[in-house]
Symmetry: C2
């Protein structure tokens, strides 16, 4: 093993010294790379420091393209959505779906619940019925001891909604949980929830330590861990689009009735086939995550919640569904969304702050609606392409610019290529050969 | 509805005109916001153009902090991992787990398969046994017609691995699939796979059109869609760490045997409880996605594949597992990873290119190993905190900097706060009050 490539005390080095160690040990042209890494810094030192301190061992910034999809009509209000994604055609697809539904009533979104969850996992040597003897007294003490920690959240209308015991002893001997429901208003609430749970864990131990009448081992519950859950089936939003089947025009050369039928079958395929469901839901998250990144929300949390929700009945299925009843086409998405519009990085990241402003400084509930609409729009656009022209035609047209950049095409070459490939199939090789032919 | 907030032809506007329309209609201080949006552009126009053309309707760049976690020993080779994440403590956790395992043999990673999948979904009015009469001849023609499209991929060692019919008629009348396996070498392969599938769909129609002996309706299969699948259970990587239980030291004040036992129980909890599994896997993806973003891979695809894999047996479970056998602690992760190190944006995004260089220009298989190790490291660090000190102690210490920035603390105030909170519990309110007290 090359000992130069490991290090002690890296985190304590200055930013420049960190970069120096990295470029000298992992790059062939250290000076050049160091300059390039530094070239990505903000000129404004204060702004750069904020970025640096968001994470650890930071050496520079990673830029993602910040796009905008206008014309989203959500619950009667027009929005322009900030979308941060590295995937070509996501923003174009969102914009096109938004425009399509703008003339057909837009997106109707409803928050079905905002309950967040957390658990204290503990082991207690006794049966569930023995444990339940203590339930009422224990929970009273848990609520009492955490009351001061909840005071500010309660002023905002949130706090602890319920605490109960959950019997997990069929899975592991003596395994129980405190199952806690929270309302965290406009904050994602992770720190609030984890702080409360850790305080509850301490009090759980204190409670049983006080029960001198119990056998010694029952006076010492073994707390394994205290942590929020990202599985939040009751922090849920539904987004719906709907119109008479006859209004499903402008979908290529397909008659509205046939389009509706093909679309419904494509959704059905994603309901019954996990191979298809995974890709289908991936497309939904293309839209969702792009808004989440733009607003500094945690996309891993939302992905985990969404996909585990998709598997809730024992088979992994589509998060969206579709029906055609009495000539009316209806397409909807139900997705758990534990979001925040205050706290975290929402006010700290310079562009996240602007994204929220662009969205009219939404509450967490409003942001849930916006994000769900973005997911449904993306799903609609993807299925529309898939069941009509196929995905490649639009996608490769969008990707053409990337290929032209990758082969180093000049502006003149780009114009000629764009004209040529408006009528020919785009592939990396064909674009490369076309540009090479131009050059010879 | 405010008509000024919707627009036709937005995508055709110049970048400056796009910004102008957005700031004038969605912001209170248009001029100031316009300047700020532009301030995020690269000075280097060429670099900016590359970013702009990755996506659509782009108006600026969104910066994420680019951190580095050194000391990852993976299959005997030391790496420094580029990690792009907005979540505090992810990079610190990865670094700390990497250092811990550096002295204990590092990460052992094995690619279990690289098979990628795609499907042509079609409807054909007949039974599966009627359809199977055509299987051999049909597949021969599908392979023949797609051969030229596969030529370059085959030179690199990839191509189509198999084509078969899949009976889906129990789910919908007449529903069948062409189920196609691919090897796409170092590319993620989405465009390759979709192009092949669309060509197969055309040929499927052509094949049946030629079967004059069949009833007319059987001469016209109805192709619904042709698309890759993100559910790739055979594109799989396993990462493992292992050491004698007695070597599990440096985990707070807990004896190695007790730590190992608590750790194993925490993994078991994530195996049996979907509420815990979701959060557990979310932590794994904190590590995985940070490398994916840094290398311009598609994290939505990997998230969807991983979470649907986690639900494969009918219950959503942990992707990692743990055992203690004969005094040996073993902890491993199995996760589907369909990645690319060529094509896509890997050579186009300026920092993604550097990330791959930092990793020694890995093949896709090597990157699978690196990414799996990042996921396992993150999971190890999270569980270590959870079953010892609790998550909040480390997390809030990392988050302290963000809170100080949010309340606008000066450099002197930050020093005093950091000293104070090294011995006190961090909460937003307490930090805010501490800084206010300093000021009065």
């Amino acid at each position: 093993m090359d000992k130069n490539k490991t290090i002690s005390g890296f985190s304590k080095l200055s930013k420049r010294k960190k970069i120096k160690w990295i470029v000298e040990n992992f790059f062939k042209d250290p000076e050049h790379v160091m300059k390039e890494i530094i070239s990505h810094w903000y000129k404004d030192e204060e702004k750069q420091q904020i970025l640096d301190e968001i994470s650890e061992n930071t050496i520079t910034n990673y830029s993602l393209p910040y796009g905008v999809a206008p014309n989203f009509l959500i619950n009667g209000r027009p929005y322009a959505l900030p979308l941060v994604t590295e995937e070509s055609s996501v923003v174009a697809a969102a914009s096109s779906a938004a425009k399509f539904w703008l003339d057909r009533g837009g997106f109707h979104c409803e928050v079905l619940g905002t309950t967040k969850l957390g658990h204290v996992h503990f082991f207690w040597p006794g049966t569930i019925s023995q444990l339940q003897h203590h339930e009422e007294a224990l929970i009273a003490r848990l609520l009492e001891v955490t009351a001061p920690l909840c005071a500010r959240m309660e002023k905002r209308g949130g706090g602890i909604r319920s605490v109960r015991l959950r019997d997990m002893s069929m899975e592991m001997d003596d395994y129980y949980q405190l199952f806690v429901e929270f309302e965290t208003c406009d904050s994602m609430g992770a720190n609030f929830i984890n702080t409360i749970l850790e305080a509850m864990a301490d009090e759980l131990k204190a409670y049983f330590a006080d029960q001198a009448q119990l056998p010694t081992e029952q006076q010492r519950p073994d707390v394994l861990m205290s942590i929020l859950s990202n599985h939040t089936p009751d922090c849920l939003c539904r987004a719906t689009v709907s119109c008479p089947v006859g209004d499903l025009t402008a979908c290529a050369d397909v008659a509205p009735e046939i389009f509706a039928e093909r679309f419904a079958r494509a959704v059905r395929a994603a309901q019954v086939d996990p191979f298809r469901a995974t890709t289908h839901n991936k497309g939904i998250f293309n839209g969702i995550d792009a808004v989440l990144v733009a607003t500094a929300n945690d996309f891993r949390a939302v992905e985990a919640a969404g996909h585990s929700h998709a598997a809730r009945d024992g088979q992994y299925r589509s998060l969206s569904d579709c029906r055609i009843v009495d000539g009316q086409f209806e397409f909807w998405l139900e997705v758990p969304l534990a979001l925040g519009t205050v706290g975290g990085l929402t006010a700290l990241h310079p562009m996240a702050k602007r994204s929220l402003e662009m969205l009219g400084k939404p509450s967490a509930r409003e942001l849930m609606c916006i994000v769900a609409a973005a997911g449904l729009a993306q799903n609609f656009a993807a299925l529309r392409s898939l069941v009509t022209t196929g995905i490649q035609q639009g996608h490769m047209k969008m990707h053409l610019g990337n290929i032209l950049n990758a082969v180093g095409a000049s502006s003149g070459e780009k114009d000629q290529a764009t004209e040529h490939f408006s009528e020919h199939k785009v592939s990396y090789q064909d674009v490369k050969e076309f540009v090479e032919t131009l050059r010879n």
